[in-house]
Symmetry: C2
Subunit: 171 residues, 2 copies
């Protein structure tokens, strides 16, 4: 069976497959977010077939530039499950994540992502995530963000304190 | 005057220059974070020569995989200033930011960054941010994170709702 046919078997039936159901929930959150003054983005985190948390964009209503749908959903899922490790979870997001959210997905150890709109769709309505992706790929001295390294030796002292700590929780 | 000499004039004097003072505060937060069970990372956000917010890594104590020092400091600064737009702010971070935090810095419109340790220092003590940087540069189908696009047309409905909203706050 080809991958496409496997997909058809999962999602092409009259009743919604679970993946469609979760994605439609993420899309509904995105639409509701617009009504509530947020950006048009929603996300759902699922573990073992059950929704453990949801999130929607709250940058403007919460005055928080990090309150994207995926970051919000990850924070809520970690709080709900009582762990920073979301291994075994899936994320459904109404739009392909920006670098910040993609980074958060990796740190949370989420293994599988479903997305609806993509970066190009987002750019068309004024959310130019691809600018940030391009900046990240550049050498720091070529980025628009001015950056300057300083006091590296002193900064490494905190790392040595971490290394020397016998009872640390590594993550 | 070469750039190096300009740097000496700023930072080489007996009294600490402001940049050194803010970086030392970030490093102190990183050391304190280790004592409190967090990762060895601290950050300070400065506007017009004054500290507006600080942050330290709280991933383990707060059960929040997004609670890195920089994200925490950005959230606190946005709350303190009552805006998601931190234009005109500088960030001092004890270690070069991971992709999640670098993304947050861009979204917050912070224009200048000072950092102490770098990615290589972080990797040496087990924080392999460079893995995430490498993953981001890959085509999504080649990433370790499995990703699947679905229901794109339905997802675009939320974007159309955003476009049609007359009183939206763009960001």
């Amino acid at each position: 069976m080809t991958e496409e046919k496997a997909g058809d078997a999962l999602c092409g039936e009259k009743d919604m497959c679970p993946q469609e159901r979760f994605m439609r929930q993420a899309i509904k959150l995105a639409r509701q977010s617009v009504e509530q003054g947020g950006g048009p983005f929603g996300a759902v985190i699922v573990k073992e077939g059950k929704v453990v948390a949801t999130g929607h964009n709250q940058v403007v209503p919460s005055c928080d530039p990090t309150a994207h749908a995926e970051v919000s959903a990850i924070r809520a899922a970690a709080a709900a499950l009582g762990t920073f490790d979301l291994s075994g979870c899936e994320i459904y997001t109404s739009c392909e994540p920006c670098p910040m959210c993609l980074g958060a997905i990796y740190w949370a150890r989420i293994g599988r992502m479903y997305y609806g709109c993509d970066q190009q769709d987002a750019a068309r309505i004024g959310f130019d995530d691809s600018f940030i992706y391009r900046e990240m790929a550049l050498d720091p001295v070529r980025r628009r963000l001015v950056s300057c390294r300083m006091l590296a030796d002193e900064a490494r002292e905190a790392f040595r304190a971490w290394e020397a700590k016998p009872d640390k929780t590594e993550y």
